[in-house]
Symmetry: C2
Subunit: 241 residues, 2 copies
DNA sequence: CGTGCCAGGTGCCCT
DNA sequence: AGGGCACTTGGCACG
């Protein structure tokens, strides 16, 4: 199930990788230099690093710190293994946009591989969708008397999370953020409100930002624009998901 | 330099991880279940997976596909190792925001570790900063006769990449994007232009979006708003970085 | 396949 | 520590 080679020859390592690269996750500890070129470009000098490949084409070069790889190609890339003298060479091509990663491994300390699956039904709880779902099920989470007219209402300037109506008959644009609302979210809401106002002359239009919190600067914009904020907590929505 | 254990006992694996967790990268192949809770929540049932820890506190649970870990905690988190019967337990705490990852490893196929450094002077070429640098060095990249007045000009609605003046004395707001410009970039530029117009009544104010390309919808907004687009290619700027 | 947008985004720089 | 923003953003759903 788990296969590995310690201090393999270049030839053995090449064979190992060739055998498993399209069906398994492969982990390589090695003395590595690497380059990336495409939309941008970067270069890494020789140093011990960790290489990971996955059967979907993922290629990552990890260093000793940080969560993200320092150089990578995403799923859908194609991996080629070859030998250049004493150096094991991995080349990865991403096709759209065109991006190249070349890894030269001067010394392989270990290469290992195991078949690893994918959690098909993986689900994160507490996403924006969950919040919108909860509001759809219980509109009063926005405010008393709120009625939903439409979800994901498409406009020329983007799609509105929820378009509704308050108890006085005003149109209400609701923008939902799953976390701390940023100024960008306020600008977004303002755009929607202006669009709806333009489409419904003479009718009252309000904008409500629903989020777990809001930054001070975002709150300032919000007030300047005459928009409103409604805080929710996980506890508010958990009963409706 | 490289250390590893094959099919270790829980006790040995625990010792191994405890010994290296604050100084080295550790890779574990194992039969794993995991939970995450914090701003959101998620759960993984027992399955073979790949665990990686780094001395800066990074903890990642990788599956057989995708570039990103399915569950993780970022740098700055703290890792605790313990044993629960026959199960190796990794608990990770991120402090701000408070988030918990718990990994239960029912079978360790292999645990390995190596000291890996960090490329201190790592530099990506072709970022937005590079483009702005190039314009600062050669303002005519924006247009003939363009003069820079200020970089990162701070306004109430965000910071303007470059504020300048054209040969006719109009103020020019320049927004730089390193890739394909999205509608969001156009809205951003529009905000800045409106702000500058408000601050400089009676003065001509233009807005120019500088990017390698622009999406069709973004271009429509741009034209609607009376803004301008200036394409650049990597070749344009490479001489000035 | 591009287009749009959320994400537990992460990382970087600044206050 | 928190704010603001770029990112080779990645990932997903949808036209």
């Amino acid at each position: 199930m788990l296969d590995h080679l310690l201090n393999p020859t270049v030839k053995d390592a090449t064979q190992f990788i060739g055998r498993y690269k399209s069906s398994r996750v492969i982990v390589i500890y090695g003395q590595v230099e690497a380059t990336y070129s495409g939309r941008a470009a970067a270069q890494l000098r020789l140093m011990p690093r960790l290489i990971i490949t996955k059967p979907d084409g993922v290629l990552m070069v990890h260093e000793g710190y940080r969560e993200k790889p320092v150089i990578w190609n995403p799923p859908g890339s194609q991996l080629f293994v070859s030998v250049d003298g004493d150096v094991l060479v991995l080349r990865s091509i991403r096709y759209s946009p065109r991006e190249y990663v070349t890894i030269r491994i001067h010394k392989v300390y270990m290469v290992s591989s195991m078949e690893i699956g994918l959690t098909e039904d993986f689900k994160v709880i507490g996403t924006e969708k969950d919040v919108v779902d909860a509001i759809m099920a219980n509109p009063s989470l926005v405010e008393d008397g709120f009625k939903v007219l439409s979800r994901e209402y498409e406009t020329m300037v983007g799609s509105i999370d929820i378009l509704g109506e308050d108890k006085l008959g005003n149109l209400v644009v609701v923008e939902v953020k799953r976390g701390e609302a940023s100024p960008e979210a306020v600008h977004q809401l303002k755009r929607y409100v202006e669009y709806i106002k333009g489409k419904n002359p003479g009718r009252g239009v309000r904008g409500i930002l629903v989020a777990t919190g809001i930054s001070t600067s975002a709150y300032r914009y919000l007030k300047d624009y005459g928009l409103e904020f409604r805080r929710y907590t996980h506890a508010n929505i958990i009963n409706y998901t």
